[in-house]
Amino acid sequence: MSVDMEAHAIVLSGDCGVDEAESFVTMLESRPDLPIDLTGTAALHTSLIQAIMLFQPVIIGAPSVDFLARWVIPSLNPRSS
């Protein structure tokens, strides 16, 4: 689906692919104060995971996808809630 900047967070919903990478990075750069919301994330492309590793935003919500929730998100960011 898409990556959107909303008032409270950058929201990643549905299948987030490599084509979102550039705009996602621009958002992270412009609003380092905003958390990212992964509640509705169905798939997260490696390029986006890499950007999260680097910018270390606060993460809110947990994706329903077992692989991401179990293996990826916990290691992404110590500040994640």
Binding site: V25, H45, T46, S47, V72
Partner: protein, 655 residues
């Protein structure tokens, strides 16, 4: 050139040499795992050294070569000629540019162009479709995996064992549609996953979202083939390690750390020392040998003055010092010893190339390469051996068709073998080629006017073959007419003689030719006979002296202007050392003469001296400065009493 660059030059040479040797060995035996590991290590280390300098194009080539070898190690690239040839081309090229680039500290434009074309050739190998199913399986288990395994020990074991996965996605992988995490999500039975940046970024400004800069490490439940299936399209980016379930923790290390550790180990036992420093030690030790002899006369004087106790003490210290000095001398000499391997290994590539140029298949067999000899001997061996090996390939070995017609193996065998025989090293160069025909050698020698046909007829076959060593025997025309060889064999023999060695040849028509070189293991110490003429003393190398002879004045025959005597039914010319040295000759001899019988070419010559003093084991130093190259003098040495002794070169004096 700065020190770092000088070091690079030395190291690069060694690494290139090692790589080339390993690659040639791999060509013969593609399954030789240790050679593959060795060439990988060499290229890896070389890449590291090159990285210290501004040799970017070279670095890229080595990087690519390393990737290829890494692929060969994990089985994703086949070890065959399509891999070895471009790698050898790279190694050859580097061999040729080490010196120039070490001088200028940069690559010339020309060199960059060559580098790029080599890089292209290497990349073609990577791009080639993989024929066999990717094995992906690496041998040693990385540290992180064994750490994890240790933590897992009290958990439920997995029936099919565990597999450690190290996945370093290609930086450009996103453009190929790869999504490394999605791939990882497909791994069945995941037990553990960590990931991190592959290379730390200097700043976020450097971040390129479309470039993958990650390392993923995982542990999953076997069986292995299920996991291999997931990564089958990414063999070059993934390495799998099978962890035995419940296996005791092994101290295995990641290959790169393992090789570093091995390198560190080597550093601990090997020290690179400037040869000049060792030489200085050898000299000092040699002088000590002489100096300790000075104690003996002291003891004698103590005894003469009636102090027996002091004399005994001096004797005791003298023998103790003698023992220690000899041990010291032995140890320092040992430090100059190197294995002949250094010289031998240079032939692997040479034989391969020369044979290919002549369209002949030749197998080089090297034996006894660990045999050691003095560094100078080993270095000096190369030229003569080069002659012999080239000759063997050029002339000794027949064309393949001729070999088959003679019921021989199509592939010829060239043997290079070293052995130690007492204080000499024996090196054999033999081929199983066509051998030499004594009749043709005789005919060629007669045609060259070296001897008359009558003389030739009187020769045995064995003697005839030795004609190939005669100066002037070999000219290009004769050699090409003749089935055998002969190119500069007299030059080879002369070179070996200069090293105080000998060269012998045997050859059998149809079965091959064999050369045997015999050289002293070490030059440093030589045995001298000390002789007196008038009031002077001189040293004569013992190896020059066949025997000593006491000659009654009455037995001297005058022949024209010269003198001679008969020794065992042979007339031997008699010379006087005093004449040879242009000293005053003592009045006509009345008593018996002391005569040294010395070799002069194939003949023997008697050289009369006044007194045969003692023998001495000393270190002869070549003349330096103004005296350098002085006719008839080999060098100087110190005697126990501190006097300098001139060592004579008998061959020069007589000739």
């Amino acid at each position: 050139m700065d020190e770092l660059m000088a070091q690079f030059r030395i190291e690069a040479r060694e690494l290139v040499q090692q790589s080339s040797e390993d690659l040639i060995a791999l060509e013969r035996e593609p399954s030789d795992r240790s050679r593959l590991e060795s060439v990988f290590r060499s290229i890896h280390t070389l890449k590291g050294s090159v990285g210290l300098f501004d040799f970017q194009a070279l670095h890229q080539v080595l990087h690519c070569a390393e990737d290829l070898l890494s692929g060969a190690r994990d089985g994703s690239i086949d070890v065959d000629l399509s891999l070895i040839d471009p790698l050898l081309a790279v190694v050859d090229w580097i061999d040729g540019i080490i010196d120039p680039i070490a001088e200028t500290a940069r690559l010339s434009e020309q060199q960059v162009i060559v580098a790029n074309s080599l890089l292209g050739a290497l990349q073609k190998v990577i791009a080639a479709p993989i024929q066999t199913a990717p094995a992906l399986l690496a041998e040693s288990i990385p540290q992180w995996a064994s750490d994890f395994q240790a933590k897992m020990r009290d958990q439920t074991p997995c029936a099919d064992g565990l597999v450690a996965i190290a996945y370093t996605p290609h930086p450009e992988c996103f453009f190929n549609g790869d999504d490394p995490f999605a791939t990882m999500a497909h791994v069945p039975g995941l037990r553990h996953l960590t990931f991190s940046l592959n290379e730390p970024l200097a700043s976020r400004a450097d971040f390129d979202p479309f470039r993958c800069n990650l390392v993923l490490r995982a542990i999953a439940e076997g069986p292995l083939d299920r996991i291999q299936a997931v990564f089958r399209l990414l063999p070059d980016q993934v390495r799998l390690f099978e962890l035995a379930s419940q296996a005791p923790l092994s101290p295995a290390m990641e290959p790169s750390t393992a090789s570093q550790a091995a390198g560190a180990d080597r550093n601990a036992v090997l020290l690179r020392i400037d040869a000049a420093r060792i030489d200085a030690l050898v000299e000092i030790a040699g002088e000590l040998v002489a100096a300790k002899n000075g104690l003996l006369p002291l003891a004698g004087r103590a005894r003469e003055s009636g102090d027996d106790a002091l004399a005994r003490q001096i004797f005791a210290s003298q023998s103790e010092i003698e023992r220690l000095v000899n041990a010291l001398y032995g140890a320092v000499t040992q430090a100059r010893m190197v294995p002949v391997d250094q010289t031998f290994r240079r032939f692997a590539r040479l034989v391969r190339e020369t044979a290919a140029r002549h369209g002949k298949a030749i197998e080089l067999v090297i034996e006894g390469e660990a045999t050691e000899a003095d560094r100078n001997v080993v270095e000096a061996l190369f030229e003569p051996l080069l002659h012999l090996v080239r000759n063997a390939i050029d002339h000794g070995v027949e064309a393949e068709a001729d070999r088959l017609a003679a019921s021989k193996r199509a592939r010829a065998r060239l043997l290079l073998r070293a052995r130690q025989r007492g204080d000499r090293i024996e090196i054999e160069v033999s081929d199983d080629g066509r051998g030499m025909d004594p009749a043709r050698v005789r005919a060629a020698a007669v045609a060259k006017g070296l001897l008359t046909s009558d003389q030739a007829q009187a020769m045995t076959d064995l003697e005839s073959l030795q004609l190939v060593f005669a100066p002037g025997f070999s000219t290009a025309r004769v050699v090409s007419d003749l089935s055998g060889r002969g190119v500069g064999l007299d030059a080879v023999k002369t070179a070996i003689h200069k090293l105080s060695g000998s060269l012998e040849m045997t050859s059998e028509l149809g079965t091959g030719t064999s050369f045997v070189l015999r050289l002293p293991v070490s030059f440093s110490m030589s045995q001298l006979m000390v002789v007196e003429v008038g009031r002077e003393r001189y040293g004569v190398p013992l190896e020059d002296i066949v025997e000593t002879h006491r000659l009654a004045a009455a037995d001297i025959r005058s022949i024209r202007a010269g003198q001679a005597f008969v020794l065992r039914q042979q007339t031997v010319p008699l010379l006087y050392l005093s004449d040879l040295l242009r000293l005053e000759r003592p009045v006509a001899p009345t008593a018996d003469l002391k005569v040294l019988i010395v070799r002069s070419g194939d003949d023997r010559v008697g050289v009369a001296v006044d007194t045969l003093a003692d023998r001495a084991e000393t270190l002869t130093r070549p003349l330096g400065g103004l005296l350098e190259g002085m006719h008839g003098i080999l060098g100087t040495t110190l005697l126990g009493d501190g006097r300098v002794l001139l060592v004579l070169n008998m061959e020069e004096l007589i000739g």
